[in-house]
């Protein structure tokens, strides 16, 4: 009797573990589909609760009209950031035209359609840096698309439901982006170091010409996840150590990740 009960108990555990593992390993098919359905069901509840709790938080932290003032402020900041980004993109374009890469018909961000979305939630896990935005697959947004705003590259859409999307921020530890430096043909791989930490660029050869303050852009090489020319950040430190084959480069993100009320999703997907 006790053995049968114990067997049943461990069978239930085995089934639960098997379901979890199957969903984990089938991210692109079954797991992703179930997640999309779950997000579609749960996101309206989360949206309503967020709608209720956010004004209370704003009220507690400021004056009576704090909420409308911060919204207006956020819109203006986003507008300034867009202009700043356009300026940075123009500089990138000029360089690229004079460059051999300009002949390769790489799409530039300002020729690409974008979709503006509102941020409805912030990092839901301490182990990852994410935001949730108010637009999803019904607006043409798909997993893998780049998200920009507030000065530059913000992150990448990792999953969508019909009316919301989850965006992995550039600071997340899983972030990997092919980048190029503003005035030189040097390329590298940008990596996130976790929420609140500066970014790092790896695979830049020893003694490459990298200058402090230089802007780092997505390189858009063949097979890249992103279009070329999105400003990602600027160089804070760049060192060549005698004992290392690569440079140690630290980058500060250009986007103001603390103020992401509105973002733009770049409606661009790599050619398959």
């Amino acid at each position: 009797m006790a053995t049968r009960q114990a067997r049943r108990r461990f069978t239930v555990l085995a089934i639960a573990v098997a379901i979890s593992v199957i969903l984990i390993v089938t991210q692109s098919s079954l797991g992703g589909a179930v997640k999309s359905v779950g997000s579609t069901v749960l996101s309206p509840f989360a949206f309503v609760i967020n709608g209720v709790t956010r004004p209370i938080g704003n009220f507690l932290s400021g004056a009576l009209n704090y909420s409308s003032a911060t919204n207006e402020n956020a819109k203006l900041r986003a507008q300034v950031a867009r202009l700043r980004m356009s300026q940075a993109e123009a500089a990138y374009e000029r360089r690229q035209v004079a460059n051999v890469l300009g002949l390769q018909n790489i799409p530039f961000l300002n020729q690409l359609p974008t979709h503006t979305a509102q941020t409805t939630g912030i990092s839901q896990s301490n182990f990852s840096a994410t935001i949730t935005i108010s637009k999803g697959s019904s607006s043409g947004i798909a997993a893998g698309m780049a998200v920009v705003g507030a000065g530059g590259y913000v992150g990448q859409v990792v999953s969508t439901s019909s009316r919301s999307s989850l965006v992995r921020l550039v600071t997340d530890g899983q972030t990997r982006i092919g980048v190029t430096f503003g005035t030189t043909p040097v390329m590298g791989m940008l990596k996130g170091n976790g929420h609140g930490s500066p970014l790092a660029v790896a695979y830049v050869p020893f003694n490459s010409l990298v200058h402090i303050g230089e802007t780092v852009y997505t390189n858009g090489l063949s097979g890249s996840t992103f279009p070329a020319g999105i400003p990602v950040g600027h160089v804070i430190t760049a060192r060549s150590l005698a004992t290392a084959a690569q440079m140690q480069i630290v980058i500060a993100p250009d986007a103001n990740l603390g103020n992401l009320t509105y973002v733009n999703v770049v409606l661009w997907e790599p050619l398959k």
Partner: protein
């Protein structure tokens, strides 16, 4: 079996949504409280190992809907924790939970510590290399603190939703047999 599935689902959803909407805005040392780890052990305490595993699976899946990590990762960690606490309760190891005031607090702290630790390990095993750059110590301390603080109310809520004095009755049955 719980007396009311609806009541249990509502309680679990409320805790998950409170975690994903309210708690994420409360940053301490750069991390936010994660008290959702209390749900699976509370279900395990109320309904035993099978309920802990199944409850942990569903709570974890609903949490995973909000995360960029592989769908099923939290579910796996929570199913294992729910099962373990449920098994301990069935074997009478947690029989004095209503008499010893610090026992639910200790279970909550352990659930937070083991839960976030297990999630970290499973994440790395399933290719989430970015987990290693997370502020692990701050996350652990914060999670243990909040899980200890909220262990009693969450356990009571889940026991109410389950609808009986299940842990105590089951322990008595265990001793009689």
């Amino acid at each position: 079996m719980p007396r009311s599935w609806l009541r249990l689902i509502i309680v679990c959803l409320l805790v998950v949504l409170a975690q994903e909407t309210v708690a994420v805005h409360m940053q301490f040392w750069g991390v936010h409280p994660e008290f959702v780890w209390l749900l699976a052990p509370s279900i395990g305490l109320a309904g035993g190992s099978e309920a802990g595993a199944v409850g942990g699976l569903f709570v974890g899946l609903s949490v995973d809907c909000f995360l960029p990590t592989p769908f099923g990762l939290s579910a796996l960690a929570m199913a294992l924790i729910g099962f373990s606490i449920g098994l301990a309760a069935e074997r009478g190891a947690l029989a004095s939970i209503r008499e010893v005031w610090w026992l639910p607090v200790g279970i909550g702290a352990s659930a937070g510590l083991v839960g976030s630790g297990l999630y970290l390990i499973l994440g790395v095993l399933f290719g989430q290399s970015g987990f290693q750059s997370a502020p692990i110590l701050a996350i652990m301390v914060n999670t243990v603190f909040w899980c200890s603080l909220l262990a009693v109310p969450v356990t009571i809520m889940v026991a109410w939703a389950w609808g009986s004095d299940q842990p105590r009755r089951r322990h008595r049955l265990h001793r009689m047999s």
